[in-house]
C-alpha cells in the first residue's frame, strides 16, 4: 500500500494508462505548463509532448466534440472540464454525440472517451462552480457515470474508465482531491459497476457516493452511540449500477436512506429510491428516505452553503426517521 491523495491517485492512474496505451491522450484547459488547476496532469506535457497533452483554448463545446471525433477514430481521449458546471456549454457533444453514436450507427462505432470533471459544494465557489450534476448524465442512455470517493477507488476507476469502450463521465469531488488514502501498489483496476460496502450494519442501509460517503460514515458513528447499526454503501458508479449489492443490503436491514450532495428534485437518489420501492417494497419496514441539497442555487456565503447541502446531522435525522426514533 502507498498513501496518496485522490488527485495524486488520479494522476498516477492516468499516467500508467498513458504509458500503457499510446492512444490515450489528455484534452482540456491549462493541462500543460500549469498541469491543470488541480495539479492532475503535472509533468504530462514534458513527458508525453503536445500531441498527447492537448492544451485547448476555452472552447469546451468543440474540444469535447473534437474528442468525440478522435474517439471514433480510435483515440482514447480523457477530457478535463475545469468544473462540471461548464458542461452547460459542452452538453451537445456529450449527450447527443458521444452517448448516442454507437446506437445510432447500429453498433458500427464506439466512443471510448472519458470526461473528467470536478464537482461539489463546500468550497465556497458559488452557484456556477459548486454543483453536483450526476443526474444530467445518468438520464442519458449511452453514458456511464462514475463518482469515486477514495484515493484507491479514484485510481482503480480512472484506469477502468480509460479502458472502457463507452463514454464515461468521471466526477471528482473537489474537496476530496487532498484526502489521502492507501492505494494498492502495482496494477490496480476496479471494474465499473461494483459498489463498496464501507461499513456493515443490520438496522439501516445508507446508499450514497462521492464525498457524502464520509458524511454517512460519520453519521453512522454517531448513530452507533444510540444503538443504531448502520450499513454504508458507496456506489462508486451510478451507471452501471450495482443493484445486487443494494438488494442484498436492503433485504438485510429493511430500512434505507439515500444520500446525495446535489439538489433533491429529480436527483439520482430519487431514482434509487423508486427502484427500491418498485422491486423491494416487501423488504421495507419504512418508506425510503432521501437526504439531498435544497432545491436552490448553491450559495456563496459559508453559512448559507452549509445549510444548502447535506451535513452529517441531516443524515442522522433521516436515519432516525426511518427507524422511528426522535
Amino acid at each position: 500500500m502507498k498513501k496518496m491523495s485522490v488527485s495524486h491517485a488520479i494522476r498516477e492512474g492516468m499516467h500508467e494508462e498513458m504509458l500503457r496505451d499510446e492512444n490515450v491522450i489528455m484534452v482540456g484547459e491549462d493541462l500543460g505548463t500549469m498541469g491543470s488547476p488541480f495539479a492532475i496532469t503535472q509533468g504530462f506535457l514534458d513527458e508525453f509532448g503536445p500531441n498527447r497533452v492537448i492544451e485547448t483554448p476555452i472552447s469546451e463545446s468543440s474540444f469535447t466534440g473534437m474528442s468525440v471525433g478522435a474517439a471514433m477514430r480510435g483515440i482514447r481521449p480523457v477530457v478535463e472540464l475545469m468544473y462540471v458546471d461548464f458542461i452547460s456549454v459542452a452538453m451537445d457533444p456529450v449527450m447527443n454525440q458521444a452517448a448516442k453514436m454507437r446506437y445510432m450507427t447500429g453498433g458500427q462505432v464506439h466512443v471510448p472517451m472519458v470526461v473528467r470533471a470536478p464537482m461539489g459544494s463546500g468550497r465556497r465557489n458559488a452557484g456556477q462552480h459548486s454543483q453536483c450534476l450526476e443526474t444530467l448524465f445518468t438520464h442519458i442512455p449511452g453514458l456511464k457515470v462514475v463518482c469515486p470517493s477514495t484515493a484507491a477507488d479514484a485510481k482503480g476507476l480512472i484506469k477502468a474508465a480509460i479502458r472502457d469502450d463507452d463514454p464515461v463521465i468521471f466526477l471528482e469531488h473537489k474537496l476530496l482531491y487532498a484526502a489521502k488514502g492507501d492505494v494498492p501498489e502495482g496494477e490496480h483496476v476496479i471494474p465499473l459497476g461494483v459498489a463498496d460496502v464501507k461499513r456493515e450494519g443490520k438496522d439501516v442501509t445508507i446508499i450514497t457516493w462521492s464525498r457524502q460517503v464520509f458524511f454517512a460514515l460519520d453519521a453512522a458513528k454517531e448513530l452507533e452511540k444510540e444503538g443504531i447499526d448502520v450499513e454504508v454503501i458507496d456506489l462508486r458508479s451510478l451507471v452501471p449500477l450495482d443493484w445486487e449489492t443494494i438488494k442484498k443490503s436492503v433485504s438485510k436491514t429493511h430500512n434505507v436512506v439515500v444520500v446525495q450532495e446535489g439538489v433533491k428534485r429529480s436527483g439520482f437518489a430519487g431514482e434509487i429510491s423508486a427502484q427500491i420501492m418498485e422491486e423491494l417494497f416487501d423488504e421495507l419496514d419504512a418508506p425510503v428516505e432521501r437526504v439531498a441539497a435544497l432545491n436552490t442555487v448553491a450559495p456563496f456565503s459559508p453559512t448559507l452553503e452549509d445549510v444548502f447541502f447535506p451535513q452529517v446531522d441531516d443524515i442522522v435525522k433521516a436515519v432516525k426517521k426511518v427507524v422511528n426514533l426522535k
Binding site: G65, M66, G69
Partner: protein, 317 residues
Amino acid sequence: MYTNMVRIRKFEVKLTDCFTKGMLAGNIHTSVGQEATAVGACKALEKRDFIAATHRGHGHCIAKGAKTDIMMAELFGKVTGYCRGKGGSMHVADVSLGILGANGIVGAGIPIATGSGLTSKIKGTDEVTLAFFGDSASNQGTFHESINMAAAWKLPVVYLCENNQYGVSVNIHTVTNTDTIAVRAKAYDIPGVTVDGNNPLEVYEAVKKAVEYAREGNGPSLVECMTFRMRGHYEGDPAAYRPKEVTEEWRKKDPIDTFRAYLLNQSIDEKELIAIEEEMDKEIEAANQFAQESPYPDASEVTLDVYVSDNERSVAR
C-alpha cells in the same frame, strides 16, 4: 461525377415520392439542387479520407461511396440499413468508407471532423477530413471554436460550407453581416474561397487545392460553395418563405441540367448520358425494392448497442 450527381438526384426524388405516399416516416431533408457540391467535394478526396455530413447528408454519403440500397433501407428503418434502422435519414454512417456520420444537430459535425483531423495529426497519417456544414451552421459556436483550434494546430481539415442561403426559413443575410462566409477565413489566417457550388468542376478544383494544402501539413481551409436547395427544408415544407423569383432563378441553374449541357458541349455523346440516367433509374428502383423487401429490426434490438460493455445491466437501470 455526372453519374453520382444523377444517382443522388434520383435517390432523393424517389424519397420524396415515397414520403408523399406515406411510406417514409420521420424527417427527410433533401439536397435536391446541391448535388454538385457534394460530388465535386468528394471527388477531391481519396478513399482513406473522411467526411462529416449534415442533416441534409444523403448526397454527401452517396458521393463518398455509400451504397444506395443500404442507405434506402436505413431510411425505411430496416435492419439491412447502414445503422440497422436505428439512425434514419439524418444519421447515415459508414466509417469504413470514411463517413463519420450525418448529424441531426446543426454544427455538431464540425468538431467531430476536427477530432478526426487531430487523430491524423497524432498518428502521423495523411488522411484529410472534410466537414460539410451549411451557412446556418457557420453561426454556431462550434464553427468558430473548431476552425480556431484547427488553424492553431494546423490540422488537416477542409471546412466546406454549403451556402444554400436559408436556415430553414431564415435568409442568411438577415442574420449575418458579411456577404460571404469565406471572408471569415481571414479571422483565422487560413485560406478561404467562395465558389459556384452548382458547378462540380469548380467545387472539385477548390476542394482539391484545400485537400492538398491540408495533406501537406499546412492546416485547414474554408471553402464556401454557393448553392440552393430546390425543395423545402424537409419534405412537406412548401418553402413559402422564399420569393418565387429566386427559386425560379436557381432552377435555371440546376446543377444537373447545367452540367449535362456542359458535357454535351464538350462533345460527350448524349447516348452515354442517357445510358447513365437509365442505369441510375434501375439502381434506385432496385434500392427501393431492396428497402421495401428488407425486414424491420427485431423488437429485441431496441436496447442493443447502447453500450459496448455491460450493455444489459447499463440499460436495465
